[in-house]
């Protein structure tokens, strides 16, 4: 330890030596290495002589349960004893060295299981075949006469048995099977079952080491402040003013590049403890040039977004029939304008990363949703060849999309370069985390609908105006200038292969959904649920408006346009039935449904307004994700989705004044607490035949179901979130 503390209780530094870096390590995450060894059956599976099965997990674990789900899928095909399963993360550097044998590390888009289920199951099956092959060879029998279950291999005719651990080393020398047949999910015994998570126990005792908890001998700590106005610059700082503060080692400018013109330009203080570094940073006199956005405010955002609501130029995301003709012959027109703000991810663990840079090596330890982009950032920031860099992932204290961006990796490597041979941990304050997010994009929408004399919906126009994530972060993904992702949840089937997982739930005879791109100087990003969230608020609230204008039941009104979407109709009917929709019990209910991230979801909310304050009593939510890998974790994700989605609806808002974010901590950016938590009844109803996402789709139905219930309770239609300032008095 480098500070002056004396520890008179048990020693916490374990003093282990880390291979390759020659340093004594303090507190380190588990599962930090996956080098090929003699007990490696194949890339996915290691089996020790004591029958412990270690399953390699390439995707990140941020609470969504992917780690356990992936292990279940491998274990199912492997036929190992689930009670002897543990896990480890291969590093992105190892992935690179082994020709990306673990494929994609990126963890987002509710893709962790559905995007890798095929190849991880094949990996488990191949390992099983090799283990059986090794046993059969040792026994001199045919492999076809042998089977495996619970890590035991049995030769049927003779009844002879052995265990995986006894043949693992020999199995690695077996020929690699080229074609494996996967089990039908109806025969699963480990996957598909409500298994407890593999990563729970250390989370209950404080033993789990998150990125923020990493400790190395000789480590120094950094706190950073980026220019408070995006596009601004650091001009100067007065390091002499703080050089005598306790523990201060260095003050340095940190300038990095991330993506397209969205770099950081700030200053960091490095000290022997983080608290001393942060205290000194707060005392440091800094001069900034706030640049072109120095006077930017929320009114500018509103003006910009409003300019797109009726603009002639717009990208089309969905169309059918002749909307103009339908409008011309309408018996009744309904029109509304909606607005959704920028929102911060606010994971509980503020951004952080630890780096050790030497003349010929750069190693990073960090919570990241994309180990490979973190590796690329380490290489770029260190200036070293990527083969000389590696990233060791920790479990994440929340991600929600924020930790897909490697800005903090660029920063820590830039700082660590100034301290060759010394590990540097960069810890952001909560304020820094709030002010320098990749915010949920802000948009508005104008919706117009035509009803005929029978109250049937004849035409619909949904004009989205607002921010594009891709234009800011991945401009090469634009299609002739259009960001097709802005249409998530309302997109035309077949418009783009990657967008079919978010196609519109309804079949409308005459339809236009288009997007006038308006990009304020706010850095947008992928925020749990992404663009489905606001599109669900717009479409599902407006469907409710149309139903009421037509004098129709909102459930029947929706179902009339879902004949070609039986799975969507099924989840909607399921929540209506379970919640008591249509019963004369005086409860105010609201519905919403969506097809997103490849899953069909619906929710029914029950609310009351008491003394002008919203009370959400109960939510019934249904999910058809095709194949349920771990039903109890799907329930957990559905329950949690309402906290994330409703926190956004109630409180989530990032606003600007003089170019600066106004909500710098949880007192100004509140999040739902237990007292506000409704009872959530999750109906998991997998219909089979496909793998849909789970972590994100339900977020989208949270807000519109509650907003529609609020209308049922009060007759008030809320068209702008967050709700916090709205007058709910009936």
């Amino acid at each position: 330890m480098t500070n002056s503390a004396t520890i008179t209780r048990r020693q916490f530094i374990v003093g282990a030596s880390a291979a390759g870096i020659g340093l004594s390590l303090g507190v380190l995450p588990r599962g930090a290495s996956a080098a090929a060894g003699p007990d490696e059956v194949n890339a996915w599976v290691r089996i020790a002589t004591d029958d412990t099965v270690t399953i390699r997990i390439a995707r990140s674990e941020m609470g969504q349960g992917t780690l356990t789900g992936l292990a279940q899928l491998v274990a199912e095909e492997l036929e190992c004893d689930w009670n002897r399963v543990t896990w480890e993360f291969p590093t992105p550097g190892q992935n690179l060295a082994r020709e990306r044998v673990w494929k994609d590390f990126s963890t987002g888009g509710s893709n962790g299981l559905r995007g890798s289920q095929q190849y991880v199951r094949e990996g488990g099956a191949a390992a099983r075949i090799m283990l059986i092959g090794a046993a059969a060879e040792a026994w001199g029998v045919s492999a076809s006469e042998c089977s495996a279950r619970d890590s035991v291999i049995t030769h049927g005719p003779s009844g002879r048995t052995t265990t995986f651990g006894k043949v693992a080393v020999a199995a690695a020398r077996q020929p690699v099977p080229q074609n494996v047949t996967l089990k039908d999910p109806s025969t699963w015994h480990t996957a598909g079952k409500p298994k407890m998570r593999l990563d729970t126990q250390d989370k209950l005792t404080g033993k789990l080491v998150y990125g923020a908890d990493l400790r190395f001998d000789g480590m120094l700590l950094a706190s950073i402040m980026d220019c408070p106005v995006k596009g601004g610059k650091l001009v100067s700082f007065d390091a002499d003013a703080i050089k005598d503060m306790p523990g201060v080692k260095k003050v340095l400018a940190v300038k990095t590049s991330v993506g397209t013109g969205l770099g950081t330009d700030g200053v960091a203080v490095v000290a022997d403890t983080w608290w001393r570094a942060h205290s000194a940073l707060k005392a440091l006199p800094i001069e900034w040039d706030f640049g072109p956005n120095a006077n930017f405010s929320d009114a500018d955002v509103t003006r910009l977004l409003e300019s797109g609501l009726d603009a002639d130029e717009a990208f089309r995301g969905n169309w059918a029939g002749d909307m103009d003709a339908a409008f011309a012959s309408a018996e009744q027109m309904v029109e509304s304008v909606y607005k959704c703000p920028s929102q911060s991810h606010a994971p509980m663990e503020p951004m952080n990363a630890t780096a050790l840079v030497t003349a010929d090596k750069c190693e990073v330890w960090c919570p990241t949703q994309n180990g490979e982009s973190a590796l690329a950032a380490a290489a770029e920031a260190s200036g070293l060849p990527i083969e000389k860099c590696d990233v060791h992932k920790t479990l994440l204290g929340g991600g929600f999309g924020r930790r897909g961006a490697p800005d903090y990796v660029h920063q820590v490597v830039a700082i660590a370069k100034a301290f060759p041979g010394t590990p540097i941990k960069l810890q952001w304050s909560r304020e820094e985390d709030q002010k320098h997010g990749f915010y949920h994009p802000t948009t508005m929408a104008k919706l117009r609908g035509s009803l005929d004399a029978d109250g049937k919906l004849t035409g619909l126009h949904m004009r989205i105006s607002g921010q594009s994530i891709l234009a800011a972060l991945i401009p090469q993904a634009l299609v002739n200038g259009a960001d097709l992702a802005t249409f998530q949840g309302v997109v035309k089937p077949g418009l783009s292969p990657s967008m079919d997982q978010h196609q519109i739930s309804y079949d409308f005879p005459n339809l236009l959904v288009d997007h006038a791109m308006r990009n304020p100087p706010i850095r947008p990003g992928f925020w749990r649920g992404v663009n489905v969230n606001q599109n669900a608020i717009y479409l599902e609230s407006f469907m409710d408006e149309l139903a009421h204008a037509a004098g129709r039941d909102p459930l029947e009104f929706r179902l009339a346009h879902m004949e070609k979407n039986p799975k969507g109709a099924a989840v909607l009917k399921a929540v209506a039935e379970r919640s008591g929709w249509g019963s004369e019990d005086g409860k105010a209910r609201g519905l919403a449904t969506m097809y997103a991230f490849g899953s069909y979801v619906a929710a029914c909310a029950e609310v009351r307004v008491v003394d002008g304050k919203l009370k959400i009593d109960r939510i019934v939510a249904a999910t058809d994700c095709g194949t349920a890998v771990n039903p109890q974790q799907i329930q957990a994700q559905v329950e949690g989705s309402f906290v994330y989605g409703l926190s956004a609806m109630l409180y989530g808002e990032i606003t600007y004044k003089d170019g600066q974010v106004q909500q710098d901590n949880f007192h100004t950016y509140p999040s739902m607490r237990i007292a506000e938590m409704p009872l959530v009844e999750a109906i998991v109803m997998p219909s089979g035949g496909f793998f849909g996402g789970v972590g994100e789709p339900t977020i989208a139905v949270a807000a519109p179901a509650v907003l529609n219930a609020l209308f049922a309770a009060t007759g008030k239609r809320i068209r702008s979130i967050p709700l916090k300032d709205a007058d709910l008095t009936a």
Binding site: A5, K203, G398, G399, R430, I674
Partner: protein, 151 residues
């Protein structure tokens, strides 16, 4: 140099009196189970017990820690991770990312120590920790299960 008790053992700490207890625990004493979430006593991820009372350590300066103070952190809640609250949490698989859970568990343990019959209204009032993953439904179930285990 200041002496007090952490998890039943005497510790000596040399740090500025303004240093929050959170950072003394994490940086001087290496007890990283207590988490940094907000720094302004809003989220509760840093909840520890000072003489049995739940305290948000991020806003509790070292100077406020008395020589006779006894501090309990998540590492010291039980010898083997088998406090009834921890057992209930394990049984219901409460954590998602888990980062807020040491604080959530410490807040719950303090609540039930003082009020073994805590009802939902007590929970709503006393458990104000933030969890962004949204584990509240299982936290509430977990508190009731822990109550039954302690009865």
């Amino acid at each position: 140099m200041k002496t007090f008790k952490v998890n039943g053992e005497s510790v000596e700490v040399d740090a500025e009196g303004s240093t929050p207890l959170l950072w003394v625990l994490r940086e001087q004493l290496g007890l990283t189970g207590t988490k940094f979430g907000c720094g302004i006593a809003q989220c509760g991820a840093c909840t520890v017990h000072v003489d049995g009372n739940p305290v948000r350590a991020c806003a509790y300066p070292l100077s406020a820690v008395g020589e006779a103070s006894e501090i309990t952190t998540i590492e010291g809640l039980s010898e083997a991770g088998d406090h009834p609250v921890q057992l209930a949490w394990a049984e219901l698989d409460v954590p998602q990312c888990g980062y807020c859970q040491p604080g959530m568990i410490m807040a719950t343990a303090a609540l039930l120590a003082k009020n073994p019959d805590a009802d939902d209204a007590d929970i709503d009032q006393q458990i104000t920790n933030i969890c962004r993953c949204g584990t509240f439904q299982r936290v509430r179930e977990g508190i009731h299960l822990a109550k039954r285990k302690m009865a």
